[in-house]
């Protein structure tokens, strides 16, 4: 479904992404792992169009999306959540998700109909799934960090994506919140048949829910394979797992 073919991205002299490749099949849950600074977030920014690669190709459903602007990539069916909470802090929880749902329904430019009566059911359905329905009227900026991270995912769901990209969905969460978020991700993959690409620091989470794993270091892809293959790969053990589990 998604194919990243050896993309490069440099910031001045620093090669943030140095020939990374990735391939995600429909219905899969794929994890990207790697030490800090390995280029995971940059890779996600390249896929979602926030950054443009210097070289390489990104193909989604047999269509090249390498140089499309973010909003067009979103309309093709890829949405994302952000590592650092990136919501509309002054809108209500409901309003946050509604912005995305209205955008998906191509109603963002509707001028003469009240917004409060549009896309209400769809928005509430998403809030129900992620468990924020009881907080729909609260101002998003006043939510707890854990709830804001869940709201991140809820906004990304507003566009009914085929591929959902989650950049460290559990960063900064308490253990219980982390557990809840992982259950949510599994549920989404099952219920909606979503394809999910995520990156995460917690290896237990990665190895428990990812069907395939891509390992990055210094902006390069070391390997992409099943959890078993990754665990047994010598280079990964040396380069990454070794460091942490030593």
């Amino acid at each position: 479904m998604l194919r990243v073919e050896s993309v490069f991205k440099a910031f001045d002299d620093f090669m943030a992404v140095n020939g990374a490749s990735l391939d995600v099949k429909k219905g899969e849950i794929v994890a990207v792992i790697g030490p800090n600074g390995a280029g995971k977030t940059t890779l996600f920014n390249l896929i979602t169009g926030i950054l443009k690669p210097d070289r390489g190709r990104i193909v989604f459903k047999d269509e090249e999306i390498t140089y499309l602007p973010p909003y067009e990539i979103c309309r093709k069916g890829i949405t994302r959540s952000f590592q650092i909470v990136n919501i509309f802090p002054r809108l209500t929880v409901f309003g946050n998700v509604q912005v995305a749902v209205l955008s998906h329904q191509r109603k963002s430019s509707t001028l003469f109909r009240p917004a409060e009566s549009l896309a209400v059911e769809e928005t509430k359905a998403i809030l129900e799934v992620v468990g924020l329905l009881d907080k729909e009227k609260e101002i998003a900026g006043s939510l707890s960090h854990g709830d804001q991270k869940v709201l991140e995912i809820a906004i990304a769901l507003g566009n009914e994506p085929e591929l959902l990209i989650l950049d460290e969905p559990t960063a900064g969460m308490s253990p219980e919140e982390t557990f809840g978020a992982m259950e949510l991700i599994k549920k989404l993959a099952k219920m909606r048949g979503l394809t999910i690409l995520f990156c995460e620091h917690d290896m237990d989470i990665v190895f428990s829910i990812a069907q395939r794993i891509m390992v990055m270091r210094h902006g390069e892809t070391i390997i992409q394979g099943t959890p078993e293959e990754v665990r047994n790969n010598k280079e990964v053990q040396e380069a990454y797992l070794g460091e942490e589990h030593a």
Binding site: P70, Q98, H104, F112, A115, E116
Partner: protein
């Protein structure tokens, strides 16, 4: 929405004020009727600015140009051609919106201060053209004694015309700000990157906001011609843009009716304090400093907070004001 509007606390008081204003010419002296009409005209210009700056977060610092373009388009059609008045009136906002489209098309490619600089430059260019093109626009002499259709011949009928057009414009603007378009515009103001990520074409949306706002600025320009029967190049000068900017600041950016209040304050100051001293701007300056320090949400924002439910915590409260004030009256 209509039901909710009626049930909202502000609806009936507003209706009352409107009825009072409607009967104003029956008992008030002519001078006051004129001052009120001037406040209506200017506040429409200020509200159209508030739409792009307050609700859209765009640095449209030279917004007065579109007010002037609307006024000149109507004035030139009435003075130089025998076009029916209705055509001239409609041409005002349309010309303003087209100008907004052209200038905005360049400006939305830039952000913040760069947007502001380009907008001020392109706006000043239009002022320079109007100012220099003596044979066509009358230069700094302007155009005077513009003919009006018979139904606008008396000051009273002009007052009613302006009040009706203002009311219709306000209802339209309120509807637009409450629509998905308005919601999305405020979301873009708060977080453009996230808006792109959920599939919103941010630049196109901002451009549409500019076109709509400049259309309303053009309507204000037409009303100016109806009121004054003259136009002059100062209408497009940056000083006027600054003035309507201050009106919004004074009234409150995140409130819908704030600019009306700001306009009323400034026009009254100039009229009644300006009579005694030419240094009335000094008082305005002091007032502005006080507002910025003590009422950062503007006078209307402050009144809303007084009228709203008691604060639970000051930090949260501020955000609630911004959020609810974003669409409230």
């Amino acid at each position: 929405m209509f039901e909710r509007t009626i049930r909202s606390r502000a609806f009936w008081p507003l209706c009352g004020i409107l009825i009072l204003l409607f009967f104003l010419p029956l008992f008030a002296p002519r001078f006051y009727v004129y001052i009120f009409a001037l406040i209506y005209v200017t506040s429409l210009a200020a509200m159209s600015l508030n739409m792009v700056v307050g609700f859209g977060g765009l640095f449209q610092f030279h917004h007065g140009v579109f007010y002037g373009v609307g006024a000149y388009a109507t004035a030139l059609l009435l003075a130089k051609t025998s076009a029916p008045a209705l055509v001239a009136f409609v041409a005002g906002p349309i010309t303003a919106a087209l100008t907004g489209l052209i200038i905005g098309w360049f400006c939305v490619r830039l952000t913040r201060l760069y947007f502001a600089m380009l907008q001020i430059s392109l706006g000043s260019l239009i002022w320079a053209i109007v100012f220099r093109w003596y044979s066509f626009t009358g230069g700094d002499d302007g155009i005077h004694g513009i003919r009006m259709p018979s139904f606008l011949s008396s000051p009273q009928s002009a007052y009613y015309f302006i009040l009706v057009v203002l009311t219709v414009s306000l209802v339209l603007m309120y509807t637009i700000l409450k629509s998905p378009f308005g919601n999305t515009l405020q979301a873009i103001r708060d977080n453009p990157q996230r808006c792109e990520a959920v599939g919103i074409n941010v630049r196109r949306h901002q451009l549409l906001a500019i076109v709509i706002a400049t259309f309303f600025a053009g309507i204000a320009g037409v009303l100016f011609v109806v009121l004054e029967r003259s136009v002059f190049a100062d209408l497009l000068f940056w000083v006027l843009s600054l003035e309507i900017f201050i009106m919004c600041l004074l009234g409150g950016w995140f409130t819908f009716l704030g600019p009306v209040l700001g306009t009323a304050i400034i026009v009254s100051l100039r009229t009644f304090v300006g009579k005694f001293t030419e240094y009335w701007t000094l008082i305005l300056g002091i007032l502005l400093i006080l507002v910025i320090f003590f009422l950062p949400e503007g006078v209307m924002g402050y009144l809303q907070r007084l009228g709203g439910p008691r604060p639970k915590g000051s930090a949260v409260r501020k955000e609630e004001i911004d959020a609810s004030g974003g669409v409230g009256l």
